[in-house]
């Protein structure tokens, strides 16, 4: 039962959800920039559920030996590895930033399709992560249909 950790339905009050994630992350040992990185990444994932997804879902957060994992279930189920792989930034054009930021803020990003919808997993290691070159990070994130748990 404890394995499920904190759980909360996705809600339009993003500030409330950010506070929840911040509280949970701090409770599980994240501090400072790492904590705020997680909060921002979760915020972007939830924003996408409203802007591109099913507008409903569930946030699940849990601490474990390696750090903290927050999963965002989107009942829309239309988020694909191709979206993650295509993440880009282009200040001169429109669009983008959300998935790009998620991939850069988190130590690991996983994506899983379930019967309930798509589950984006955001993982923060308890200790500073080694700096992984961007190209490798993007590829591994886009490929992970079978997230490591």
């Amino acid at each position: 039962m404890s394995a499920f950790g904190l759980r909360c339905p996705i809600d339009p009050d993003l500030g409330y959800l950010r506070e929840l994630v911040r509280l949970h992350g701090r409770h599980n040992g994240l501090t400072g920039e790492r904590l705020e990185d997680l909060v921002l990444a979760v915020n972007e994932a939830i924003t996408n559920v409203f802007d591109h997804g099913g507008r409903a879902g569930l946030i699940t957060a849990r601490g474990h030996a390696e750090g903290v994992t927050v999963e965002i279930l989107d009942v829309g189920g239309r988020l694909t590895p191709e979206h993650l792989a295509a993440a880009h930034v282009n200040p001169t054009g429109g669009g983008g930033f959300g998935l790009w930021a998620i991939l850069h803020l988190c130590d690991e990003v996983t994506l899983e399709q379930t019967r309930q919808g798509s589950v984006l997993g955001l993982h923060m290691h308890g200790r500073p992560a080694p700096i992984i070159p961007l190209e490798r990070r993007r590829r591994s994130a886009g490929d992970s249909r079978h997230p490591t748990r």
């Binding site: 409770h27 599980n28 040992g29 994240l30 501090t31 400072g32 920039e33 790492r34 601490g63 991939l103 850069h104 803020l105 308890g126 200790r127 500073p128 992560a129 700096i131 992984i132 070159p133 961007l134 990070r137």
Partner: protein, 135 residues
């Protein structure tokens, strides 16, 4: 552009409660003023009990300054009452001062504010204790 990741200060061990109670005291003639700041629950009330035991001189009245106490639970209430009983055995009293918000509410709901002398502020509590002792 790579993901920049600066070395971070080592995080607090996961699951470790943050200490949320600060205790301090001041000796006055015939009484000890114990100030509680923060939150008292079952994870911190034992610390309060030990603290009072250690700093109180035999024969002291005790004034608890609750002005900066934001949370008080039933286990904390038990410590305050336990202290009152210890004092009573020596003909001394426990006074509560400055309780506000949720702690004041617990004192009211349980009737403890009718059982122990309660004061709006620390000054009134001290004056009451000193006046009584002199009289």
């Amino acid at each position: 552009m790579g993901a920049s990741r600066q070395p971070q200060p080592s995080p607090r061990p996961a699951g470790m409660p943050i200490t949320r109670l600060t205790l301090s005291h001041q000796h006055l003639p015939g009484l000890i003023l114990v100030a509680l700041a923060g939150e008292i629950d079952r994870t911190t009330s034992v610390r309060l009990a030990g603290y009072v035991d250690r700093v109180r001189r035999i024969g002291d009245h005790v004034v608890f300054d609750l002005t900066e106490l934001t949370f008080l639970d039933s286990s904390g209430l038990h410590v305050l009452l336990g202290c009152a009983h210890t004092c009573a055995a020596e003909g001394r009293q426990v006074h509560l001062a400055g309780a506000r918000g949720s702690p004041a509410r617990l004192l009211a709901i349980t009737g403890v504010d009718g059982y122990l002398p309660v004061h709006a502020g620390v000054d009134q509590a001290i004056t009451t204790v000193l006046t009584k002792d002199r009289g």
